[in-house]
Subunit: 161 residues, 4 copies
């Protein structure tokens, strides 16, 4: 079961977090997770993916225009019905990462995705809307990103198997 992690990265931090999430997701049996920049999307993989996790740096309080542009123009892939999830990097605590995530979630809902974050339902660590890493993330934030990948992968298998 394929899971795509699609990101835009400006400084390399968001790319690193995408890779941690992919690593976490790949722990789950029968899951093949792959991270890819919006600049090098594997459309075949993305089309087959049952879940897509989107990530962005936080730019002036929301996700980057590059992601928005890509989401609005890359109409070859249909996201409706897939599981959708999000993550963000930000420069400091309170620096907009969660608001970027919620704006991205709004977009995924309009595309008809099933949106999931695990929240507090899977115990610690809690993940409200998606993991937020401050720059590339401290150890706890990185661990949360890996676990997020694992949880999204588990839920994907549970829903679509």
């Amino acid at each position: 079961m394929k899971i795509a992690i699609v990101y835009y990265s400006k400084t390399g931090n968001t790319k690193k977090v995408a890779e941690l999430i992919a690593q976490g997701a790949n722990i789950i049996e029968n899951v093949e997770a792959k991270s890819m920049s919006i600049e090098e999307v594997d459309n075949e993989f993305l089309t087959e993916a049952k879940a897509v996790i989107f990530g962005s740096p936080t730019i002036t309080g929301t996700f980057s225009w590059q992601i928005k542009q890509w989401l609005d123009t890359a109409r070859t892939v249909k996201f409706g019905g897939k599981l959708g999830a999000v993550f963000a990097t930000a420069n400091y605590v309170g620096g907009g990462g969660e608001v970027a995530e919620l704006a991205l979630i709004a977009e995924l809902l309009v595309k008809g995705m099933l949106v999931y974050s695990s929240g507090v339902a899977e115990g610690q660590p809690f993940i409200h809307f998606g993991p937020v890493c401050i720059q590339e993330g401290d150890e706890g934030q990185k661990e949360r990103a890996r676990i997020f990948g694992e949880r999204i992968a588990k839920k994907t298998v549970e829903l679509f198997n």
Copy 2:
């Protein structure tokens, strides 16, 4: 398969929309949908429900404190893993219904629900975050509410059957 529509209603409008959504959901085979005020929740039904649709009037730009209070204190029912969806009533176009819905969605994600609205993926009528009715809704808005119930019910059967 049980689906609960849980609402708070101040003037009766939100109650009416809840009933339209229940009516739409009950069209789908094997679905038993029931609307209930937060003041008279059927906890057994709610516990068994595979999907819960939450509705609120818009009060000063977000959902009512009564819903918030109920969501934060009614800890007997676990919402994690259920399908979650939302609707709102508002007093005029631009009067905060969508923002109330998105704030409610944020809450459902933290509870670990799978959030779904159908968006544009099911064709017309589009339903961005959930149906918004201006007061009790005009004919088009009422029809959107019924169809929303139907779509949530279909998705619930598809996911949990």
Copy 3:
């Protein structure tokens, strides 16, 4: 006192609403309001403006990437300390206009603007986050847009005179 209405328009609807807002603002004495597309910004006027009103169509649940790109790259104008306000067009009631407005407001706050909508404080018509027009707006929505321009202009004079 200068007030700029800066918009991106795809179909022409957002442009029309921008013009209505400018028209409303120009009613106020000593105010010179001018609407301009992000594609033809008058940077001198914008720099001198005490208030800037931003408008966008709603694209998949938030404001357009063109506005985001422009806001993030047009760094010649400093928005900090100016009055900021927003409006949006959307395709239907519940179609994301308010959520687009709130995402835009988040961006303006990060830029250090004073954000104002008038809300319910100026009596009817209420304007929650900014006027929302469905397509080019019905008569009531157009009137709300004009009145919004007037209110923002009044507040600008009150604050910066």
Copy 4:
């Protein structure tokens, strides 16, 4: 010039941050800042205040129902035209503090307040929507809260003197 910091605190953390903000605001000449719980509001002070800063713990991804209830029922004080600002405490990075702040900002806009956070316009430390403290805040977060108080006070004097 009076500035009120109005908060709800469950564990005492939000109260502590409110006091830091008041301390920061009181540095500015001619400003009298006072923090008060919604359970013991000084209505006369609040009525005279030119700015009101609202604070809440983050409960399941948004601000607490107690604040919402108070905001919707305490109609003796008119907030329209005052400067409004927000802060939040949360349990961890990504734990909803910013989303709670933005939901609160939506409410303040509907009340007709001028909303301000300073953003990136005043240089470091940046404050996107308002300061977020993880629990009672680490040293950097506490310092940001104090500076926020100072900035809001400066802006209040600048606008209303």
